[in-house]
């Protein structure tokens, strides 16, 4: 399992291939599922030209790793790689990669979806978008209708 939080632009497909070649035992996995989250030029009815992604160094890594460990307990996984960027991001650039390897596809599909959904819910990142009306903080992520979120406890 590897979690990388970095500012630099990366190629998610090259990262997946490189990680597989260097870390996966040959011939053991029957499925690799990847999710790549990329930056759109629109959100919530606004044209978006750029984005700054803030995070909480230390807490971010800790919570992405926790989500990956949970997935490894729920499903039969061989390995997991997550790369997430912060800082200035421009249109069409990748923001996040989740790659999961397992013996069979069902485990890899389910685990990949679990990791990206709970990462979005718990990892402390905040998007600030640049629009024609100025900069605005994104108040909430769009929901994945396929997954029941357990939600975070609200503050007292």
């Amino acid at each position: 399992m590897k979690v990388i939080v970095q500012e630099a632009l990366f190629d998610p497909y090259q990262e997946t291939r490189s990680y597989e070649e260097n870390h996966l035992p040959p011939g053991k996995h029957g499925a690799a599922v990847t999710f790549v989250g990329a930056m759109r030029d629109f959100n919530d009815g606004h044209d978006v030209s750029a984005m700054f992604l803030e995070h909480y160094p230390g807490m971010t890594e800790r919570h992405i790793e926790a989500v990956c460990r949970e997935a490894a307990e729920k499903w039969d996984l061989i390995d997991t790689l997550v790369v997430h960027r912060y800082g200035e991001i421009t249109i069409s650039e990748p923001i996040v990669l989740v790659a999961v390897w397992s013996v069979h596809r069902a485990h890899a599909f389910d685990a990949c979806r679990y990791i990206i959904n709970y990462l979005k819910e718990r990892a402390p990142f905040w998007k600030c978008e640049s629009t024609q009306q100025g900069k605005r903080w994104v108040e909430h992520n769009s929901e994945d209708p396929g997954v029941n979120s357990k939600g975070l406890k609200q503050t007292a």
Partner: protein, 78 residues
């Protein structure tokens, strides 16, 4: 006891500060008590998330010397 307080994203902008160190006296001081001391003029709104030492918690959490308390809005990564 000394507590480090951090604010992130829109909440940092609203508070006008990213970090502060606070000295507190007394036993059983909670995160909610800390907020009231620092921002008596504004209630801690229901959608503010709280982390102590980088783990999610809530306003009832009792603080210890050296704790790092973070207040932030709902997260929007991924």
């Amino acid at each position: 006891m000394n507590i480090t307080v951090r604010y992130f994203a829109s909440l940092r902008d609203r508070m006008g500060r990213a970090e502060q160190t606070v000295s507190l006296e007394g036993d059983a001081v909670t995160v909610a008590d800390l907020w009231s001391k620092l921002s008596p003029q504004q209630a801690m709104s229901g959608n503010i998330l709280i982390a102590v030492n980088m783990e999610y918690t809530n306003g009832a959490r009792v603080l210890k010397n050296g704790d790092e308390v973070a207040f932030f809005p709902p997260v929007t990564g991924g």
